[in-house]
Symmetry: C2
Subunit: 305 residues, 2 copies
DNA sequence: GAAAACATGTAAGCTGTTACATGATTCG
DNA sequence: CGAATCATGTAACAGCTTACATGTTTTC
């Protein structure tokens, strides 16, 4: 399976531009190409050379030539041929398994900490899988196949979560309890759920954000409570978060964006200093992460739309 | 996770040469690099430059300098540091899902045929996962972690098989029954199991090998009967198999080698013609696939050792 | 009026693959 | 004695990624 096949597939029911293809690839949890321009435009060029697609050029007013690609008869034939090729084995790469077997003598705390982090990442990833139709007009059969495929992705994550529990049950008791050189502190975060007229969010009640890992904890908590809105009171914002040089704020923002989680932070104006001020202005404009001085305002924004 | 990390991990308990590393990577179902020279020798060069590994050179007699690599103290520290890095999400690429959703209107027969093929490949791959210790002296804890990791791989395949059954149950009834232009013939193969003093093999009782896909059918039958020995009577060897130009024999051989399945074919000498004769001589020498004129001989070879 | 989204493309670089080159040792 | 395995390395190339360049339209 190559990207050409994917493009032919996406063009099967509707004409699209290169940009449309890029968006479709980025959105889909099944199409695993990142949707980068280089590949797509090159592939389209080759497909057109081989006569499998044609482009109609739209000159809107002036120069912005937009090319709408669609399948030729040959393209349809080729897609049908590819559909009956011998299926490929899935490619599965789980770095975490290597990380574990190469780690050697972990003590109980260390192992539990690693498993916890992995659990949260998987949980977050599973939460982010959204069903979101590939084509507009799908037959019931196509719809069923598509839903089943999305299920497949979700189930892969689920069985990974089940496996982590199995490791907890089997391997944790065998791990040594002695402490190695440095003690690893595991500070748990706690959350509570708040519901206001059919809408709700979660709020951190204890724990401090100081680390990239804590970003994952936020996402995973959202997954657990099945919400994508989270309130961060001043008490849970660590000093590291406020120092841009530590990159903590940036990493956490990245996670929020990836998993489409909306976060409102309440920060006293005294705590917003130096470059962090610019970061706040920038973030407030963007959308998924905003800083408020006032709890009421924060809540209003979180719950809106 | 990069290949450097993997190399540090493999060297954790024992010194190894580049060649040893290559073998270890090729064997392991968890370490997903193909174990190609280019990467390994380059990585070793860099690791040595960074002072994370050292090599002792062995001059055996003349020139064949053999380099035994082992971890330095810095290397051990680096490995420990990497062990506590934030775990990465698994990378899962299932082409088959794309193949299905891009295939569009499949009728019942076509869908069932695709599912069948996919099922067999997964079954074969699961069959090929062998537990086979990474290090010699493993603590019970390390042993448990390793066994659990292998389980993880096997369970990924198992849950894929379960998913295929779900697709059969849900989507097959929705598929149209009408026949498209060309009818796809699905000829099932049948097998019987033969046991002789605690040892056994399976034999094809109906169906003909004519296709790369049939190679997968053989592997999948082996997985089902939990054997890696298979008898191919003359009746099941198609004419295409005997024509080297069709590549059928080559592809089937490839599958047998990949999955470590031993196959004995019984062929009358009249049927061995032209270039196929060379292929037979070549194959007989190699080991996993041999041709016999006589059933007795074939059985003896199959059951030996 | 500024930024985000739409739209098409290019360049440099990393990772990993196959294939080649070379020579020693071991094994049937 | 010939082949397979051991052992180290190189070359060329495919695939994919990040980042850059450029300009338009839409949206706040």
């Amino acid at each position: 399976m190559n990207i050409q096949h994917a493009i032919l597939g996406l063009l099967r029911k509707q004409s699209m531009t290169g940009y449309d293809l890029k968006k479709a690839m980025q959105k889909s949890p099944i199409i695993y190409w990142s949707g980068n321009n280089n590949q797509i435009y090159n592939a389209l060029f080759e497909l057109e050379n081989e006569g499998l697609v044609v482009s109609r050029i739209f000159h809107c007013a002036d120069s912005p030539t937009k090319k709408l690609y669609s399948l030729t008869e040959d393209g349809k034939k080729e897609l049908r041929r590819l559909s009956f090729e011998l299926p490929e084995l899935p490619e599965i790469r789980k770095s975490f398994l290597m990380q574990l077997i190469f780690a050697g003598e972990l003590n109980k705390t260390e192992l539990e900490s690693l498993l916890q982090q992995y659990y949260r990442e998987i949980q977050g990833a599973a939460f982010a899988v959204k069903e979101d139709n590939l084509y507009d007009n799908m037959t019931p059969f196509e719809q069923a196949i598509y839903t089943l495929s999305i299920d497949n992705v979700r189930e892969s994550y689920k069985s990974e979560l089940a496996w982590i529990d199995k490791v907890r049950a089997v391997a944790l008791p065998l791990a040594s309890t002695e402490n190695k050189e440095e003690k690893i502190e595991v500070i748990e975060m706690e959350f509570k759920s708040i519901t206001k007229n059919e809408n709700g969010y979660i709020e951190i009640t204890s724990g401090i954000i100081r680390d990239e890992r804590d970003g994952i904890t936020l996402i995973s908590a959202c997954a657990e409570y099945d919400t994508n809105k989270i309130m961060l009171p001043s008490a849970c914002i660590g000093e590291d978060f406020l120092q841009l040089s530590t990159c903590v704020a940036g990493h956490v923002m990245q996670k929020l964006t990836n998993y489409n989680v909306k976060a409102a932070a309440i920060l006293e104006s005294e705590r917003i200093r130096g470059k962090f001020k610019d970061f706040v202005i920038e973030a407030n404009r963007k959308g998924l992460f905003r800083v408020f001085e006032d709890r009421e305002q924060a809540e209003r924004w979180l719950l809106e739309e």
